[in-house]
Symmetry: C2
Subunit: 143 residues, 2 copies
DNA sequence: CGGAATCCGCACAGATACTG
DNA sequence: CAGTATCTGTGCGGATTCCG
């Protein structure tokens, strides 16, 4: 490698290693996307977007999440700087989680995704029904 | 159940079953979110957002996806009405995939997510480094 | 070319038990 | 309350093969 030519590890070589490309498997931005385009991450972040919340409150709010996945995902989000962990040394200890400024930027996109899902659910359901009918007819025609 | 009280299956009972709640495990909107807040779905949809594309072109563009996951995810997206499948009866057959109007609405949110990831990657990396240093120091202090 | 079908491993998620 | 530790299983996803 030439002097003064810094190639960030994992960045696509075609661009000289300086352009992030989420479509390249080993690009850091792709790995970041894999962590945030995840159902638990999305639900945790948007929940914290409404209000700072304690561990068990989060667990109650996000139906179906296990304590393991909640703990694990929170740690990952904290490491990425999207969530801040606040510990109050009471007995027993009180821990709360809040969104960071960095995280709240991301939330806008995530919330738009959720809003779309709730707004267009009916269209999606109709599409599924139509698809299943076509499938069924095709299967019978062959069957 | 009372006459005239329609409860859509899976919708939370507290709201009379009429309000979608993505935080309820068995709500249809939650299941829809689980399908779209998925790494392959996000990459496929945003790729098709740029241009209509054939199967193998998609496979080449999205680094690391297997034929099985591409086929499977495309079918799921088609069933949800987000992607349209066009078959041209040449020999061998030519199949291309395009985003639907419904899907292109969603893409805006997904693309915002990707743009955020590429824009804030540096901040995330710094946060990770700081986190790892704290972890390390803590581990050494305990021994 | 664009898949479907099959086999298979292992990583991830759930359940359980325990701790400060 | 807020986790960690350990075990266990299973289903997701990769690899391979075959087909129209």
């Amino acid at each position: 490698m030439q002097e003064g030519t810094f190639i960030a590890p994992g960045y696509p070589e075609e661009t000289g290693g300086r352009q992030p490309d989420v479509y390249a498997a080993n690009c850091p931005t792709r790995q970041l996307l894999d962590r945030i385009a995840d159902k638990w991450s999305v639900l945790i972040l948007t929940t914290l977007g409404m209000d700072e919340m304690r561990f068990n409150a989060l667990k109650r709010r996000i139906d179906g999440i296990s304590q393991k996945m909640l703990s694990q995902t929170l740690r990952s989000l904290e490491r990425d700087g999207l969530v801040a962990r606040h510990v109050v040394p009471t007995v027993p200890v009180t821990v709360s989680y809040a969104i960071t400024p960095l995280g709240s930027e991301l939330i806008e996109a995530l919330q738009a995704m959720i809003d779309w899902a709730e707004r267009r659910m009916a269209d999606v359901t109709l599409s599924q029904l139509a698809y299943d009918v076509r499938e069924r007819e095709l299967a019978e025609a062959i069957g």
